[in-house]
Amino acid sequence: MTNNVLEVRDLKVHFLQEEGPPVRAVDGMSYSVKRGECTAIIGESGSGKTVSALSILRLIPFPPGLIAGGEILFDGKDILKASDEEIRKIRGARISMIFQEPSAALNPVMTVGKQLEEAILLHTDQTRQQAHEHAIELLKMVDIPNAEERINQYPFQFSGGMQQRVMIAMAMCCEPEVLIADEPTTALDVTVQAQVLEQLNHLRKQTGVALIIITHNLGVVAHYAESVKIMYGGKIVEQGSTKDVFKNPHHPYTAGLIKAVPRLDRPISEELYTIEGEPPDMRFVPENSCAFAPRCQYATEQCRTMRPVSQQVGAEHFVSCFPRDQVAQGGEFQ
């Protein structure tokens, strides 16, 4: 038995277009998640971070979506080869997910309790009465006051932060081994965001669930995640322990991103670093090149004509970049 609860190997997800070649939304992505760890996937919109998470749950609609290759090993078995019956037993029970917009994820015409009970009844053989008590327990676990009364209320009677807690409670109902949180706090206010993240982290420590946080907030990653994967143009360009990646970035995109975020603890006179240009349109990224090359100040002919492969640069620290040594030494990034 390995230490990894989830292993993704060379995952490729394509979206078919009516005309032209398919869009390679996720284009060869490999990573693993250890039991009970908190890992983060960082990327901008269109970088493929959500699509890669949805494919773990086999939630990519076909057509137009198509998992074009790779393996996702969960507990040693390939999820991509599992039957629909098998995947239904995993999805929501052993691997669950919470989404960005809690108000859109909850059914507005069903009480919160009914929705929780529905999830419990689907995955366990508890009776209705047991499920009801279990639901109350779950709400208490995520610190919802007056859980006995609140359980009979509708989602609109909950604030955004409370709705997200209900989503967490629902995701935790069968004690999953992996919890994927797709931008769990983007729609929430800063102080509520802190509450929800603390809650997630607390549950992780309590139950040993592995947490995959998908976000674009570098601060959240620095505070909660032990390891991090940086996505750009459908690929992981850099991954490693959060400390290594933040302290010693080897990919120009990672390095630029860290310098582009204004920091509260820095004097305001400091100029922000800007990465010129726009994130790539995934329809037009050439297959044999680095997707970041058009925005990269280190780009060489090699970057435009060859695809960089992942190279180890430290303990568990991998980067896909040809001029990586130059980037790591680059004085202006230090």
């Binding site: 901008e44 802190a194 674009h216 990653v221 505070h223 400390k243 860290i258 975020v261 305001i268 010129e276």
Partner: protein
């Protein structure tokens, strides 16, 4: 209502101050039934006072429902304010009629959050950028307008050759640049930026913030920069006002705000905003506020923050704290800080 007021701020007008706001209140009535009987009001902005010097930037930070966008809209006079004074360029604009507003909007322009809904999808970019000129009856020939649009677009970093394109051909960051070009076409002296980078990706946020800073220097603009991300707001602003439930609870220079936050809410806000540095985060203490922001229809009695504050005592629940200067232009509304300086207002 129709009379024009020209009230100097003092005997000797302070030409350095471009805008002064005194005890601004914006209450929206809640009506019921066929007769629209008022049954209460949403106190969106409930007493805000500040002043801004020419060429400076005031940041306004707060959570959703704190009234920060309403405040921005009041300064544009998009609403008829409930009470208070807004003195812009030595002139009180709180009561100016509709016709005068058009004139005002040559000087005050606003950029909003969503670059997708703020540009008309059926207009070409140069029409969008110069539409203000037609509204302002600053008639120009088509060629002149086109030329102006090209100049504005290149100023904000959009290829002027794209002036004939439609909004859908641009990305979010580029659209936000077009919104900025449209505001600049009126040659304003004052810009209200309402959550202008919130909808953008991290690498694009930095581009827009840097662009706004450059334009401020080149054109001697004054900004009000509204946002919920304290680190971004602080980065571009000279002073930052922290709003909570319709009130400004703290107002001070950007540097001072991080180094010496005095209001418990500001302290919580700073501690809740994680810093992208894993080693630093290990040692940082986090204040996690309990509960949610109360409803602005029935704000708590006394200090509005008393329901979530860890220092609350009896006085906080009874008496509203005055907004006082505790030294060096650091204003705070908190009973804990009282007695340190003289109250300025209230």
């Amino acid at each position: 209502m129709m009379q024009k007021e020209y009230v100097p701020t003092s005997q000797l007008p302070d030409l350095d101050t471009i805008m002064e706001v005194r005890d601004l209140k914006m209450h929206f009535p809640i009506t019921k039934g066929l007769l629209k009987r008022p049954v209460g009001s949403v106190k969106a902005v409930d007493g805000a006072s500040f002043s801004i010097k020419r060429g400076k930037t005031l940041g306004i930070v707060g959570e959703s429902g704190s009234g920060k966008s309403t405040l921005g809209n009041c300064l544009m006079r998009n609403y008829d304010i409930t009470s208070g004074d807004i003195i812009f360029e030595q002139k009180n604009i709180k009561n100016i009629p509709k016709a005068g507003l058009r004139r005002l909007h040559r000087n005050i322009q606003m950029i909003t959050q969503d670059p997708f809904s703020s540009l008309d999808p059926r207009m070409r970019i140069y029409d969008i950028v110069t539409e203000g000129l037609i509204i302002q009856k600053m008639e120009k020939t088509r060629a002149e307008r086109y030329e102006l649009a090209e100049r504005m677009l290149s100023m904000v970093g959009i290829n002027p050759g794209f002036a004939k394109r439609f909004p859908h051909e641009f990305s979010g960051g580029q659209r936000q640049r077009i919104s900025i070009a449209r505001a600049l076409a009126m040659q304003p002296s004052f810009m209200i930026c309402d959550e202008v980078v919130s909808a953008l990706d991290v690498s694009i946020q930095a581009q827009i913030v840097t662009l706004l800073k450059r334009l401020r220097g080149e054109l001697n603009l004054t900004y009000i920069f509204i946002g919920h991300d304290l680190s971004v707001v602080r980065h571009i602003s000279d002073h930052v006002a922290v709003m909570y439930l319709g009130k400004i609870v703290e107002l001070t220079s950007s540097q001072e705000l991080y180094e010496h936050p005095l209001h418990p809410y500001t302290q919580a806000l700073i501690s809740a905003a994680p810093i992208p540095d894993p080693e630093l985060e290990e040692t940082r203490h986090r204040i996690v506020l309990q509960g949610d922001v109360p409803s602005p229809i029935h704000p708590p009695k006394g200090c509005h923050f008393c329901t979530r504050c860890q220092y609350t005592d009896l006085k906080c629940r009874e008496e509203e704290p005055p907004f006082i200067d505790v030294g060096g232009g650091h204003f705070v509304a908190c009973h804990l800080q009282q007695g340190k300086e003289n109250a300025v207002n209230g």
